[in-house]
């Protein structure tokens, strides 16, 4: 299967810390970087909270994994997409996010999803 490049999308719809999904999803994303695939990350609904600036987890004695999103760039994972309505519904703007993202309308997000070969959601 050498040389096969598929479009992978990781869809994140859950907030961090309340459940482990966000953290373990990020672990797959990091591994996928080693396979030279066309990787995108989509943040929808509560998933946008994963990217909120200023996470301080000392008080809940849990590892703050949010800096890892900033490290994705160094692994050649640069396609981070956030849906506009999900941000707005949660009182957030692009300035609240800890990493550069592309903000998409619902239609653009749907279109992007259609183009994928593999969509993994956690």
């Amino acid at each position: 299967m050498e040389g096969v490049v598929k479009k992978f999308m990781f869809v994140n719809r859950k907030a961090p810390y309340g459940t482990i999904y966000a953290l373990e999803s990020l672990e797959v994303v990091l591994i996928s970087a080693a396979f030279d695939q066309d990787v995108s990350l989509a943040f929808l609904d509560d998933g946008v909270f994963q990217l909120k600036k200023g996470q301080q987890t000392k008080g809940i004695e849990t590892k703050n994994f949010s800096p890892t999103y900033r490290a994705l760039d160094g692994c050649d994972i640069e396609k981070l997409y956030v849906e506009q309505e999900s941000l707005e519904a949660r009182g957030l703007t692009e300035d609240d996010l800890l990493v550069d993202v592309t903000v998409l309308s619902r239609a653009e997000m749907g279109e992007l999803m259609e183009q994928q070969d593999v969509v993994l959601s956690f």
Binding site: V28, L120, F122
Partner: protein, 119 residues
């Protein structure tokens, strides 16, 4: 057609493991191939041979083992998720193996369709 399956939840607590199993069974009966079932998050709990459900209930773990044996399906448990939850080689049911997350990405590349069953 070659299917890859991702199971994100443990047995009994969620229906995900049942749905995934029934999907695999139907796909195989129709002549499709199941390339691999990858167990992630609490899904790793599908792999423990220490499971003992009441006699009148389905045995989800044994059912996976049998499906794998009858159809040569690769049942892979994510190592990081497994170690977090106390799943090790010592308590692995037949047919399961522990490996890295790369196996999930590889399934996505090799399978014609990858389906996720979770919460």
């Amino acid at each position: 057609m070659k299917f890859g399956i991702l199971v994100n939840e443990g047995p009994y607590q969620h229906q995900a493991a049942d749905s995934a199993y029934l999907f695999c069974k139907a796909a195989l009966a129709k002549g499709h191939e199941v390339h691999r079932v990858f167990f992630y998050h609490d899904g790793v709990n599908n792999a423990t041979r220490l499971t003992e459900p009441p006699l009148d209930d389905r045995n989800i773990v044994n059912r996976w083992s049998k499906l794998a044996e009858d159809n040569q399906i690769d049942l892979v448990v994510c190592v990081a998720a497994a170690l977090r939850r106390g799943i090790r080689d010592e308590n692995l049911a037949p047919g399961f193996r522990i490996s890295g997350l790369g196996q999930l990405v590889e399934t996505g590349i090799e399978a014609d369709r990858t389906l996720t069953f979770g919460d």
